[in-house]
């Protein structure tokens, strides 16, 4: 179990757009969340990170994430395929994966849940809204929800 008070939990963010990375960091900061945000730009990099290979092979470059924020429409290996990998690997399948998207389309939302995301978050344009959303998201996954222990595996 990790909590907000312990050493900063790692959040792996798969996001290909620099503006969005910047905005997300600002939002985390304004929400007063002390998190270690680690960014990858596409699905392949994300898998490299999770399996500590390629650019992330050196020790300490890829601390295990407590939460994954995933843009569903990324270049190369797309977010949807990454989720399938994660859910198929028993060492990773417990990871909470939150989809970040700009699409309000009910069809896209339904599809995202169908492939195994834990929550779907529409990126607000308005900063106060964004901050509020990320705060409640963090509170839920980092304190309200009880997640399976990394040590106890089925």
């Amino acid at each position: 179990m990790t909590t907000r008070e312990a050493a900063s939990p790692t959040v792996l963010v798969a996001e290909d757009h620099n503006h969005d990375k910047f905005i997300l960091q600002e939002v985390f900061s304004r929400a007063g969340i002390r998190a270690d945000l680690r960014f990858v730009s596409d699905g392949e990099q994300m898998l490299d990170y999770l399996y500590r290979r390629g650019a992330f092979a050196a020790p300490g470059t890829a601390p295990p994430p407590s939460l994954v924020l995933l843009d569903l429409n990324m270049p190369r290996l797309d977010g949807r395929k990454v989720i399938r990998f994660v859910r198929a690997d028993e060492t990773l399948r417990h990871l909470p994966v939150i989809a970040l998207s700009t699409s309000e389309s009910p069809k896209h939302i339904t599809e995202a849940y169908a492939i195994g995301i834990n929550a779907y978050l529409i990126k607000p344009a308005n900063i106060p809204d964004y901050v509020a959303k990320i705060s409640s998201l963090w509170d839920f996954w980092m304190s309200a929800a009880s997640l399976p222990s990394m040590e106890v595996r089925p």
């Binding site: 969005d20 905005i23 304004r30 700009t102 344009a125 308005n126 900063i127 964004y130």
Partner: protein
């Protein structure tokens, strides 16, 4: 007592067509100016001879029948006969010089040989006055042929033929007799001696030359009756030993004439006659008919010369007619080119045809033209009335034949159409296709023609003294009849021209349909592309916009101390502009979605839709104190969510543009109307002429009516965004939705008093839901 009482002295419906049943090719008799001998080859012993053989050969029938020919003709004659029979084409050797052993010495005759029905038939004729035709005779023939070849037209070539035949033969009267399609005949040229009455232009009923006579004329072109007062000589025996039947004299030159025909000629005061057939493409076109007041014999070789003249005449007729047809078809092609040009540059086939109307009428020698089927009937010139054309086309489309229809007597062909014959008697109707009421029609007026008959053809004929045969009319005095209700007949090449023009019009229509379909496809495609573009663009525009808004938000919260609020105002400006841009992009996406997200139509009660809309608008209605009344909203076939959006946009506009001094009042009213909706195209399944009209009237600020069209364009606003919120897409979306449903939308207003928006939806049968 029978039911069918027939008056004793009247025999209606009986005419000389009874002659059609007379077997004239097997009369069993010949004319006595010659002798007939029939053989079964190779034996040259006669199996049948004519009873008058004695007058020629001085031997009784019994001495000739079955006996060697040497009994009655010389050895050299027999040798020539044998040589001809051994050759390939015995008829080509005719006439064969034969010397008979008569009691009073040798007698020179012409032998005319032919084979038919298994028999070799030798006919012996007098050689005539001249021993042999002179070279002057042949020069005369050559001159005749040259004259025929110089003729410029049909009347002239026929006149020359009549003159030349009369010059060669010496008959009193030579006429060119032409058969019409119904086998009535007309004298179209004549040459006659002094004191001989003219028969020029006389018509004769078809029964005068019955069918089996015409059949014999067609195969055996020359016929001579030297003396109508002859006593026929019977064949002894009249039996073809090969068939057991009578001897077939179809190709004989001496064949005896039907007693009816003899009577006919006597009544005409003709005692010697000859006819030469004019046969064109296997059909009897006419006759060169020669009459003489006294008996007259023409020798075989002179008859051959006449046959040659008839042949040249036939060729000349063909050449002249074909030249006329070629000239006509050249004109047809020229007119077609101009029509094609006229039609090709014009959308409307009807207008194109009418523009070329005069030319087409002159081409078809018609007085009027009509096109039936394209939005009713289009007429040009003197035609039947539109109801008559509709009735005629109805009659044509019910008839079995889907082919060209033509008549020169509409009154007889289609009695149901009681048209004025002086206006239209001839009709040529060409179907445009399988669609049953699409026709091109040409019309010809009556040609009131005076026909001069050789005797009254309508006069009932009397049963004559010749048993069951009929007596011919006794008088051939001119009997004039005015023929009404007939136009000039349609010539075969004119019908072909009409079909050519039809094919051209069909081509143009098909290519137009193709062209139109192509344009429609292209339009639909570019529409689709535009809508997808708008959708994709709106999506892609949103992303940077979201970043701008986010950065503005971040900036706002990171502002340093800003005592005069200038920085805050600038960031606020970014934020409001971003919001407005977002609204525009969203509306653009929505506008593009109207066509993209088409749902099938369903029966929707509009009062339910209005209730939903009012529930949605409740906050603003309560805030403004607005009242909305509704009267007789029907159930319509529509896309519920789209029509809901229309009502929502119009009602929220009515409230939004309320008058500052009045509480907004909105009246929604539905009516079902009949009549044109103002839309050119009626959607599938729509009931013709019926539509629902919905009006939304308010008491707001209204608008200047000069903007009544402009307000329906996307992003057109009459007010600044600071005065009234909104992007100006609402009415554009309304119009797009209404048009998608096959209706129209419009607005009227008196500024400062209120505005009324009206939209129509076609009335569709309610079970026709999936057709949109």
């Amino acid at each position: 007592m029978g039911e069918h009482a027939v008056p004793d002295d009247d025999a209606p419906a009986v005419d000389l067509t009874s002659c059609d049943r007379e077997p004239i090719h097997i009369p069993g008799r010949i004319q006595p100016h010659g002798v007939l001998l029939a053989f079964v080859e190779p034996a040259l012993r006669p199996v049948s001879v004519s009873a008058n053989v004695e007058t020629f050969a001085g031997l009784p029938v019994n001495a000739v029948l079955g006996a060697p020919l040497a009994a009655c003709m010389t050895g050299p004659s027999i040798a020539r006969l044998e040589a001809v029979l051994a050759g390939d084409d015995p008829a080509a050797a005719n006439p064969i010089a034969i010397t008979l052993r008569a009691a009073d010495g040798a007698r020179e005759v012409d032998g005319i040989l032919h084979r038919h029905d298994g028999l070799a038939i030798l006919e012996l004729e007098p050689r005539g006055e001249d021993p042999r035709p002179s070279s002057a005779f042949f020069r005369g023939i050559r001159a005749a042929i040259r004259r025929l070849q110089t003729a410029a037209d049909l009347p002239q070539v026929c006149a020359i033929a009549a003159q030349e035949v009369r010059r060669i033969t010496g008959f009193d009267r030579v006429k060119i007799y032409r058969f019409a399609a119904d086998w009535t005949g007309q004298v179209i040229a004549e040459d006659r001696g002094g004191g001989i009455p003219s028969l020029y232009d006389f018509h004769f009923p078809a029964s005068d030359i019955p069918a089996q006579s015409r059949a014999l004329y067609t195969v055996n072109p020359v016929r001579i009756i030297p003396d109508i007062g002859y006593t026929p000589a019977p064949l002894v025996p009249d039996r073809n030993p090969l068939t057991g039947g009578p001897i077939d004299l179809s190709f004989s030159v001496l064949r005896s004439v039907s007693p009816v025909h003899v009577e006919y000629m006597v009544n005409m005061a003709v005692h010697g006659a000859m006819s030469v057939s004019i046969v064109r493409e296997g059909r009897l076109w006419g006759l060169i008919s020669c009459h003489h007041t006294l008996p007259r014999f023409v020798a075989y070789e002179v008859r051959q010369a006449c046959e040659l003249i008839a042949q040249v005449l036939t060729w000349q007729i063909a050449v002249l007619e074909e030249a006329a047809i070629v000239r006509h078809s050249v004109r047809v092609r020229a007119v077609q080119q101009r029509l094609l040009h006229g039609l090709g540059s014009r959308r409307d086939v009807n207008a194109g045809l009418v523009r070329g109307g005069d030319e087409m009428l002159s081409l078809m020698d018609a007085a009027g033209f009509a096109l039936s089927g394209f939005d009713g009937v289009t007429t040009y010139g003197r035609t039947l009335s539109e109801p008559e054309i509709t009735a005629l086309v109805g009659w044509l489309s019910r008839s079995d034949s889907r082919d060209v229809f033509q008549t020169d007597c509409l009154g007889a062909a289609v009695p149901a159409i009681a048209a004025d014959p002086a206006r239209v008697s001839g009709v040529l109707a060409v179907p445009l296709g399988r669609a049953s009421t699409y026709y091109m029609l040409w019309f010809r007026p009556e040609v009131a023609e005076t026909v001069t008959w050789g005797g009254d053809p309508h006069k009932p004929v009397r049963i004559g003294p010749l048993g069951e045969r009929l007596q011919t009319r006794a008088s051939f005095d001119a009997w004039r009849e005015v023929v009404r209700g007939r136009s000039r007949p349609w010539q075969p090449h004119e019908i072909v021209a009409a079909i050519d023009i039809r094919d051209l019009v069909v081509d143009v229509i098909l290519s137009k349909a193709e062209e139109l379909e192509g344009v429609n496809r292209q339009l639909a495609r570019s529409n689709d592309e535009l809508e997808s573009f708008a959708y994709v663009a709106s999506h892609d525009l949103k992303e940077p916009l979201r970043h701008i808004e986010a950065f503005a938000g971040l900036l706002k919260e990171s502002l340093p101390k800003d005592p005069d609020g200038r920085l805050g105002a600038m960031v606020g400006g970014i934020e409001t502009s971003s919001r407005r841009l977002r609204a525009l992009i969203n509306d653009l996406a929505e506008y593009s979605r109207v066509g993209r997200q088409a749902r099938p139509l369903a029966a929707v009660p509009l009062d339910e839709v209005l209730a939903d809309v009012l529930a949605d608008l409740r906050p603003v209605l309560e805030e403004t104190g607005a009242s909305v009344s509704a009267v007789s909203l029907p159930v319509v076939m529509c896309d519920r969510s789209q029509i809901r959006q229309v009502l929502q946009n119009l009602i929220s506009n009515a409230v939004k543009y309320r008058h500052p001094d009045r509480t907004p009042a909105v009246a929604v009213r539905g009516t079902v109307e009949t009549g044109p909706t103002g839309e050119a195209e009626r959607p599938a399944g729509a009931e013709p002429g019926r539509h629902v009209r919905i009006t939304i009237a308010d008491n707001g600020i209204g608008f200047d009516e000069k903007y009544r069209e402009q307000i329906f364009e996307p992003f057109q606003r009459l007010h600044g965004p600071d005065e009234y919120e909104g992007t100006g897409i609402g009415l554009a979306i309304c119009r797009k939705i209404v048009q998608r449903h096959g209706g129209s939308i419009s607005a009227t207003s008196t500024a400062d008093t209120g505005a009324t928006f009206t939209f129509t939806l076609p009335m569709r049968s309610l079970d026709d839901g999936d057709r949109a």
